[in-house]
């Protein structure tokens, strides 16, 4: 489904490389977790894959369903079925959740020659998705993320994911700032959405989230690269010994800055 080959990227207009050769393959039905300390490039990876204009790919490729999407705009990637749950969901005063999602849903439907939903059909559809994050109907009429608590914002990201039904979702630190109850709702929501046809890549600093969403693969990212991959045991090991051993190894090898 997703194949990232030797991906290098930097901030547009600057000279400092952030991704320095990432390789990652994700297949349908899989859940991946990318873990790493602050500044390792894991959030940047999510943004680059979703087409953030702030970053420039300097080398390598992103293949999605066999198609090279490295040069596509963010909306075109969304039309193909990519989704990014933001670490910091943006407040958009004046636009309701329903308005944004109907516009997004129908734009994606149009791009894929699927039938658009009229306002009434869409209302039925979107209401049926509210249970994924245990929210009430009023949630739809609120301005996107405006005045939302941290937990509500993260729930809204998962709600959007449920409505837009993407093929591949990157969840960027979806667990950060959540209390235990909100974390449960959010992770149960993700588990309800996950199936054998789609795939999920979680980006997280802590192992906590992985207690609720079981990944098939765990990757450790450090200094712009995935330096080790394994299964859930790798995350458990990290929980005990931290990132330090890997950081030290990098320094010994002289690769760290």
């Amino acid at each position: 489904m997703l194949e990232i080959i030797n991906l290098h990227a930097k901030v547009e207009g600057e000279d400092i490389a952030i991704l320095k050769g990432v390789n990652l393959t994700v297949n349908a039905g899989e859940i991946h977790a990318i873990m790493g300390p602050n500044g390792s490039g894991k959030s940047t990876l999510a943004k680059v894959v979703s087409g953030h204009p702030e970053y420039e790919v300097t080398e390598g490729q992103i293949l999605f369903e066999g198609e090279d999407i490295t040069e596509l705009d963010a909306d075109e990637r969304a039309h193909l079925g990519l989704f990014l749950a933001f670490q910091y969901p943006v407040e958009v005063p004046g636009i309701t959740n329903k308005t944004l999602l109907r516009e997004a849903y129908n734009t994606i439907a149009r791009a894929n020659d699927r039938e658009e939903l009229d306002p009434l059909e869409f209302e039925d559809y979107i209401v049926s998705k509210l249970e994924v994050i245990e929210m009430k109907n009023e949630f739809l009429e609120r301005s996107v993320n405006t005045g939302f608590s941290g937990g509500e914002k993260k729930k809204n990201e998962i709600f959007q994911m449920a409505v837009l039904n993407p093929v591949l979702s990157f969840l960027d630190e979806t667990d950060s700032g959540l209390d235990i109850d909100a974390l449960k709702v959010v992770s149960e929501g993700v588990n309800k959405i996950a199936n054998e046809k789609n795939a999920i890549v979680m980006i997280t600093h802590y192992q906590r989230l992985l207690n609720y969403i079981k990944p098939d693969f765990v990757h450790i990212m450090l200094d712009g690269k995935i330096i080790k991959s394994g299964d859930i045991a790798l995350a458990e090991e990290l929980e005990v010994s931290g990132y330090e051993q890997y950081e030290r190894k990098l320094s010994v090898n002289g690769e760290a800055q």
Partner: protein, 436 residues
């Protein structure tokens, strides 16, 4: 009436050439007052504090004729501009002149007058109030209106009368062989506990040069409630200099919303005067400009008695090298305690070459009041754009939605559904113009 209006000759010319030809004494008196004021008034320059950001050369370098000296194009079918809510409460003026065939007043409550000022100039109400509310002394544009108007809208609501349908004052401007000036006039008198919604619209059918100098006077007696929406969609080559004023008696409520979309140069000096205790008023604005448009609002919220609430939300979107100026004066007299006044000016800059000047000006002489103000100038946040973009919306659509959301609050204040829909469409056109 007058012949030519030109920079250097303008004032001396007007003094000699403008003469009132109105047979109505109430109007003639004001015409003569206007002519006299033109004699002593001086044309503003950038050395005048209130005009320092405005380049008036687009007015002063042009020659403006009176409407009867130019050949105007036929107005044609303008029914698309009629509001479905106001089909029987509409006054139409073409280039400042009343057109009875296009106007429609039917089934209005007993005693309500919606008509041409000239036809009502003999009434006591007009004689008592016309020209007594406006206070733009020494102002060339208000004086020009005084000097040259004869037609105008007159709205009178008797005591405790509610007009349910909005009253639509439609000022249409047509193409002409030469630049002309027009002097729309509006007098509103609402007796005790009367209530109405007024939609005052200015629309240019073509892209021609003209000078539109409307004067509007609103007199609200005790407990009267008025909702006054003003939609300025003049020709993009026109200049529009507005002098709208309202005076409020006890418990009166006056809520005004000015939407500025058209005109090359728009200058608006709204004034609201509190004449008694316990009033409530709003002086909101929404400005959407691009190209080399200039929109300048100099407002005065004049609190003269205790217990009053006032709100002013002035929202501005600037694209290209357009220029917005906001100067919001809030006056609170020494004895006007317990005033609650709130002013906010929010500016959205969509281009690198646009300009915004904003100046709150609070002059408070009472010591027990709540007055706050704020001004912001920002650009569309790239993270907001990307957020919507990543959800599948094109970048253009994302920007359009964000500008629309910015303007939405003002649009929703219109209180008339078809006007809200119209403005919705206009905002989309404004944000979407590059895609045409």
């Amino acid at each position: 009436m007058s012949e030519v209006l030109q920079k250097d000759t303008m004032l001396s010319y007007l003094a000699s050439a403008v003469e009132s030809n109105s047979p109505e004494i109430a109007i003639k008196e004001i015409n003569e007052r206007g002519i006299e004021n033109l004699n002593t008034a001086s044309f503003p320059t950038r050395k005048d504090e209130d005009w320092r950001f405005i380049d008036l050369r687009s007015i002063s370098r042009n020659t403006f004729y009176s409407v009867d000296q130019v050949v105007t194009k036929d107005v044609g079918d303008i029914s698309e501009h009629y509001l479905p809510e106001a089909l029987n409460s509409r006054l139409v003026f073409v280039n400042g002149e009343y057109v009875d065939e296009l106007s429609s007043m039917k089934d209005l409550p007993k005693g309500v007058i919606v008509g041409n000022l000239t036809d009502n100039a003999g009434s006591e109400v007009v004689k008592t109030h016309l020209g007594t509310i406006t206070n733009y002394e020494d102002d060339v544009f208000a004086s020009l209106n005084d000097a040259a108007f004869s037609d105008g809208a007159f709205i009178y609501l008797p005591k405790e009368t509610v007009v349910e349908s909005p009253i639509h004052i439609l000022n249409i401007f047509t193409d002409a062989d030469k630049a002309f000036y027009a002097t729309p006039r509006l007098l509103f008198v609402g007796e005790m506990y009367s209530k109405a919604t007024i939609i005052e619209e200015h629309y240019g059918l073509a892209d021609n040069v003209y000078l539109n100098v409307p004067t509007t006077e609103f007199k609200l007696f005790a407990g009267a409630h008025v909702h006054h929406a003003r939609i300025q969609r003049d020709s993009k080559q026109a200049s529009h200099v507005s002098r709208p004023i309202a005076t409020l008696e006890k418990n009166a409520e006056y809520h005004s919303y000015t939407i500025c979309l058209g005109a090359k140069l728009f200058r608006n000096d709204p004034r609201v005067i509190q004449n008694a205790e316990e009033v409530d008023f709003t002086v909101d604005g929404l400005v959407l400009i691009d190209g080399d448009q200039i929109a300048d609002t100099h407002s005065i919220l004049d609190h003269r008695f205790p217990y009053g609430n006032s709100h002013q939300l002035h929202k501005v979107v600037v694209n290209d090298s357009a220029h917005s100026i906001f100067n919001g004066r809030i006056l609170v007299a020494k004895d006007a305690q317990k005033i609650d006044s709130f002013q906010e000016n929010r500016n959205l800059l969509l281009s690198d070459s646009g300009t915004v000047h904003t100046k709150p000006q609070l002059e408070i002489f009472a010591d027990d009041v709540l007055c706050s103000h704020g001004a912001t100038i920002s650009q569309l946040q790239e993270d907001e754009v990307f957020y919507l973009h990543s959800r599948g919306l094109t970048e253009q659509k994302a920007r359009e939605l964000l500008v629309y959301a910015f303007a939405l609050e003002s649009i929703e204040s219109m209180a008339v559904k078809s006007v809200e829909e119209l403005l919705h469409k206009v905002v989309i056109e404004y944000t979407n113009r590059d895609n045409k």
